[in-house]
C-alpha cells in the first residue's frame, strides 16, 4: 500500500443511546480504491458523512495527509480536497446543468469589483467535461428537473471526476445507472484513482466491488469486520463477513 491519505482511528458515533459506529479504524492510500461494504444499517453512510463534514464523530480521530483532520462542514472537507457523491443525489433540479456542475465554485469575473458569473466560460468547461466522459445531454442550459435519472447521476459523476481533489467518497453512485453507464462509471473511478486520488466507494453489489476495488473493507454493526486486499479474498468470503457467519480470512492487510 502507498502512503496513507486518510487514517481513521477508532471513530465512533452515537445517536443518543444508540451506537451507530462503535470504533472504526482503517486507512485509505493515495490512488487506492477501497470498497466499503456492509448490510443495511451497518453504519456506512454515517461514516461517509463523518469524513465529508456532514456529521461530527462522537470520539476518535482522523488523520488526513498525516495531519489531524476534522471537517465541521462540507465546505471544510471540500477545501481540504474531499469530494463526495451522495446516495440521494445532490442536484438542484430548478437550475440548469452548468449551474449544478459549478455549484458553490462558480467562475466569476470582476465587474466594478463585483463578482459576476462568467456563464460562457462555465458552459465551455462543462461541455468539455461531459464530452470527455462520453455523456450526452441534450442541452446544458436545460433545467435538471427535465433530465432522466441516469443523466442526473452522470452529471454527479462527471462533477467529481472534474473536481477531483485528493479523496473521493461515493455513496452508492450507480443506483440509477444502466449497464453501459455503470461500466463507464467504474472506468471513471479507475481513471481518477490512477491520478493518485484515493477513492472510497460504498456499494451493495459484490460484482462492482470486485471489479473496481483494490481493497475491501466490511463494516458490520458499527465495527470493521474485515479489511482485505481484493486478490486475497472471494465474494463468498466477503458475504460471510457481511453477515457475520465467519471471520476467517478477515484480518487486516499488512
Amino acid at each position: 500500500m502507498s502512503e496513507p491519505l486518510l487514517v481513521l482511528d477508532n471513530v465512533t458515533k452515537n445517536y443518543g443511546a444508540i451506537e451507530a459506529l462503535k470504533g472504526i479504524s482503517f486507512s485509505i492510500g493515495k490512488g487506492e480504491v477501497v470498497a466499503l461494504l456492509g448490510d443495511n444499517g451497518a453504519g456506512k453512510s454515517t461514516l461517509v458523512k463523518i469524513i465529508s463534514g456532514g456529521l461530527e464523530p462522537t470520539s476518535g480521530r482522523m488523520l488526513f495527509e498525516g495531519k489531524e483532520f476534522l471537517a465541521k462542514s462540507p465546505a471544510e472537507a471540500k477545501a481540504a480536497g474531499i469530494e463526495t457523491v451522495y446516495q440521494d443525489l445532490s442536484l438542484c433540479t430548478n437550475v440548469d446543468v452548468v449551474a449544478n456542475f459549478f455549484m458553490g465554485r462558480e467562475i466569476t469575473r470582476k465587474f466594478l469589483g463585483i463578482p459576476v458569473l462568467d456563464e460562457r466560460a462555465m458552459e465551455a468547461v462543462v461541455g468539455k467535461a461531459l464530452a470527455n466522459a462520453g455523456t450526452r445531454i441534450p442541452s446544458l442550459r436545460a433545467n435538471v428537473e427535465h433530465l432522466s435519472g441516469g443523466q442526473r447521476q452522470a452529471i454527479e459523476l462527471n462533477r467529481f471526476v472534474h473536481w477531483g481533489g485528493k479523496l473521493v467518497l461515493l455513496d452508492e453512485p450507480f443506483a440509477a445507472l444502466g449497464v453501459e453507464q455503470t461500466r463507464r462509471g467504474l472506468d471513471m473511478i479507475r481513471q481518477v484513482a490512477n491520478q493518485g486520488i484515493g477513492v472510497v466507494i460504498i456499494t451493495h453489489i459484490m460484482q462492482q466491488a470486485f471489479q473496481v476495488a483494490d481493497r475491501i473493507v466490511v463494516i458490520r454493526q458499527g465495527v470493521v469486520a474485515g479489511d482485505v486486499a481484493r486478490n486475497k479474498t472471494s465474494p463468498d468470503a466477503v458475504i460471510n463477513m457481511i453477515t457475520g457467519e465467519t471471520l476467517a480470512g478477515a484480518g487486516p492487510t499488512g
Binding site: P74, S90, C92, G104, E106, T108, L147
Partner: protein, 331 residues
C-alpha cells in the same frame, strides 16, 4: 418540434407575465376611455413604486425557499420612525439638520437600519433556531405593527421636511424620483439575482437546500443576508411611503402585504421556492397597478379591486401549473 419554435415558445413561457401586461394594457387602451395617455402610464408606474420595492424583498426570501410576512409592518415602522423625526406637525418632532439635504441620507439610513435589524432578527431565528419562517415572520408582522401603534400612540405625523419630500415632487422624464428609485431597485436586484454567485446560490438554496449545503455553499449566511435584505428593502418601501403621504399614520400600508404576495405570485415566483425572477415580479406589480388604474378610470367602486386581485392570483397559480405541463412536453 424544431429548435426555433421551441426557443420561441420557451421565451414566451419565461416572460408570460410581460405578455399578459402588454395584453391588458392594449385591451384597456382600446376599451377604457382616456386610458391611452402617457400620463396614465406614468401614473401606473408611479403608483406601483412602494408595492414594487416591497415585492422585491418578499420575492428574494420566497425564491430562497422561505417567507417574510413582516415586510408590511416593517415598512410601516420605518415610515413612522422617519415621520416622527422629520415631520413638523402631529407627533412629528420636526428635527432639523444643517445643511438640509443631510436629512435625506439620515432618514434613508434610519429606514434601512430599522428594516435591516428586524430582518436580521427574523433571519437569525429562522436559520439558527430552525423555526418556520412563516411563524416567525407572522409574529414579526404582528409585533412590529404593535410597535408602530405604541410609538405613535395611534396618532399620526404630518408635514414631512421639504428636503425629503423633494424626492416625491421632483420629476425626471415624467416620473417622480421615488418611481425611479423603485425602477432602479428592480434593475439592481434583478442583476444581483441573475448575474452574481450570491443570487445564483439563493435560487439553488430554494431548490435543494441539502444539496447546496453539501456543495459547500454557506447556506445560513446567505439566508440571513436574504432576510436582512428583505427587511432593509421593506424599510426603503416605508421611506417611500412616508414621502408619498408626507408623513406617517399608525395604520399606514395596511393590506400591502397581500398585494405584494399577489404581485410575487402573478410574477411567476413559486411559493415552494427556487423558481421565479425579479423582472417577472415587476411585471406582476405593474399588472396590478394597471388594473387598479382601469378600475379608477371606469368609475367602478374601489372595492372591486380586491375581487379582481383575488381572481388574478388564482389565475396566476392555475397558469403556473399549465406552464409546468407545457414545459414537461418541451423537455
Amino acid at each position: 418540434m424544431n429548435p426555433r419554435t421551441r426557443k420561441a415558445l420557451e421565451f414566451v413561457l419565461d416572460n408570460l407575465v410581460w405578455f399578459m401586461l402588454l395584453f391588458v394594457l392594449v385591451v384597456f387602451s382600446i376599451f377604457v376611455p382616456n386610458y391611452f395617455q402617457l400620463g396614465i402610464f406614468a401614473n401606473i408606474i408611479e403608483a406601483s413604486s412602494v408595492l414594487g420595492v416591497m415585492s422585491i424583498g418578499l420575492a428574494l426570501v420566497i425564491i430562497a425557499g422561505h417567507m417574510d410576512l413582516s415586510v408590511e409592518s416593517v415598512a410601516a415602522l420605518s415610515a413612522m420612525a422617519v415621520g416622527i423625526l422629520f415631520c413638523s406637525s402631529g407627533i412629528g418632532m420636526g428635527v432639523q439638520l444643517h445643511p438640509e439635504w443631510l436629512m435625506v441620507p439620515v432618514s434613508l439610513l434610519l429606514a434601512l437600519a430599522v428594516g435591516g435589524l428586524i430582518g436580521a432578527f427574523n433571519g437569525y431565528l429562522v436559520v439558527k433556531v430552525k423555526m418556520s419562517a412563516f411563524i416567525i415572520t407572522l409574529a414579526s408582522y404582528i409585533w412590529v405593527r404593535g410597535l408602530v401603534l405604541v410609538v405613535s400612540g395611534g396618532r399620526s405625523a404630518q408635514d414631512l421636511a421639504p428636503a425629503i419630500r423633494w424626492f416625491g415632487i421632483q420629476r425626471l422624464v415624467g416620473l417622480p424620483l421615488t418611481a425611479w428609485i423603485a425602477v432602479g431597485c428592480f434593475v439592481v436586484f434583478s442583476l444581483i439575482m441573475a448575474k452574481t454567485p450570491f443570487g445564483r446560490h439563493l435560487v439553488m438554496i430554494g431548490g435543494n437546500e441539502t444539496a447546496t449545503f453539501r456543495a459547500g455553499i454557506r447556506v445560513n449566511r446567505n439566508l440571513i443576508i436574504a432576510f436582512v435584505l428583505a427587511g432593509a428593502i421593506a424599510g426603503l418601501a416605508g421611506w417611500l411611503l412616508a414621502i408619498r403621504t408626507s408623513g406617517a399614520t399608525a395604520n399606514l400600508g395596511v393590506g400591502l402585504l397581500f398585494n405584494a404576495f399577489a404581485a410575487v405570485v402573478i410574477g411567476g415566483v413559486s411559493l415552494k421556492g427556487g423558481v421565479g425572477t425579479l423582472p417577472g415580479v415587476y411585471a406582476g406589480v405593474l399588472l396590478l397597478s394597471a388594473i387598479n388604474t382601469a378600475i379608477n378610470l371606469m368609475g367602478l367602486p374601489a372595492n372591486f379591486t380586491q375581487v379582481i386581485h383575488g381572481l388574478l392570483v388564482l389565475a396566476a397559480v392555475l397558469l403556473d401549473a399549465f406552464k409546468q405541463t407545457i414545459r414537461q412536453r418541451l423537455a
